[in-house]
């Protein structure tokens, strides 16, 4: 048994397969992967609908008008700062949009003298169909194509129609998902215009 004493090569343990440094690297890699997955999950769970814009600055937008007296003119959020803006996202193939088209046009004519701007954003349409729709409902406020669907995405719209009421300071004060009625539209505009008057 003398050979079984300390120093016997048979009893000496082999090199450790997981040295401390290596384990630390593995731990960091695993934590980074788990962190990334949790981050992506949190992003996915975050609500990204248009309603979350309420009370927040309106995302910038710009359109080139295709109708009426405004043909060829560009309208941007920066140019319209200081005005109440009604930004309506619509499409010619949208049945609900047709329900509110005349209401929006009448309101535009009624509130234009008071400095309210209506802007129509035509989503996923061909120009031919869009112009036919504008002609059918005799819409005179500036409308333009949503190039690259950028405005739709920036406003986190979830469908059409959606209407954003932006105050003089560029803050989204109301988000209307679906068609709007005349009484509600007028009430909202009156409130926004009154709000401005009361401000210093």
């Amino acid at each position: 048994m003398a050979g079984m004493t300390a120093g016997n090569p048979l009893t000496s343990s082999p090199a450790r397969p997981h040295p401390a440094g290596q384990r630390l690297i593995w731990l960091i890699v695993v934590l980074a992967l788990v962190g990334t997955l949790l981050g992506l999950l949190a992003l996915g769970l975050q609500p990204r609908t248009s309603a979350t814009l309420q009370g927040k600055p309106a995302p910038p937008f710009e359109i080139a008008a295709i109708n009426g007296e405004f043909v060829g003119q560009r309208f941007s959020s920066a140019d319209l700062r200081g005005h109440v803006v009604v930004l309506n996202i619509w499409a010619s193939w949208c049945i609900e949009c047709a329900r509110e088209a005349s209401i929006l046009e009448r309101a535009w004519r009624a509130y234009r003298p008071r400095g309210v701007w209506f802007i129509g954003v035509d989503y996923l349409d061909t120009d031919t169909a869009a112009l036919a729709y504008l002609k059918r409902f005799e819409i005179t406020y500036p409308n333009g194509a949503d190039i690259g669907s950028r405005i739709y995405q920036a406003y986190r719209a979830t469908g059409v129609p959606e209407t954003f009421f932006i105050d003089h300071d560029g803050i989204v004060q109301h988000v209307q998902i679906g068609p709007i009625g005349q009484a509600q539209l007028h009430a909202l505009l009156d409130r926004l215009l009154t709000k401005d008057v009361s401000q210093p």
Binding site: P9, A15, D125, G148, R150
Partner: protein
């Protein structure tokens, strides 16, 4: 008889000339103005319906896609190539309308990430295999040094090991 043949030949030449003139003048424009449904669908199949899920513009029954097919027809008639039409739709409505994601911007990740993941997986596999090979080599039982090989107990262990190896 000769006169009749001569007059007939003249009429034939004149008619052929008129026919060729008509073809040269009209047919290309008619063909260009009316692309066939197959030509339109060839392009439409490369676009996704923007208002539905998992369906291309050629197979989609919605009004939006009908309008888009008409637009494709217009662009084909105007002499645009398939690629030019796809670029038009991507610029007008966004890259998400393309069935095959473009190799730019955010969509580049659709192409790059899988390749990187495969390379990372292969690298990881190679590393693990290398480590396992090294570990199993380490686990091999070392030869018994000669200075203790004479020990009775060690000798018996060596015999057992030899028998086990065989």
């Amino acid at each position: 008889m000769y006169e009749v043949l001569r007059t007939g030949f003249r009429y034939l030449v004149f008619s052929t000339f008129l026919l060729m003139l008509a073809l040269a003048w009209d047919v290309p424009s008619v063909l260009a103005q009316t692309p066939s449904p197959d030509e339109i669908n060839r392009v439409a199949k490369q676009l996704s319906c923007p208002t539905c899920t998992g369906i291309n513009v050629a197979d989609c029954p919605t009004e939006t896609c009908a309008q888009w097919r008409a637009k494709i027809g217009e662009l084909l008639a105007a002499g645009k190539t398939d690629q030019e039409i796809l670029e038009y739709f991507a610029a007008r409505y966004g890259d998400h309308v393309l069935q095959v994601p473009p190799t730019r911007g955010f969509f580049l990740s659709v192409w790059v990430v899988p390749i990187l993941a495969i390379l990372a997986g292969l690298g990881m596999l190679g590393y693990l295999m290398h480590r396992w090979t090294k570990l199993s080599a380490r686990k091999e039982i070392p030869a018994i040094p000669s200075d203790i090989a004479e020990d009775e107990y060690i000798r018996r262990v060596q015999q057992e090991l030899d028998a086990w190896r065989e």
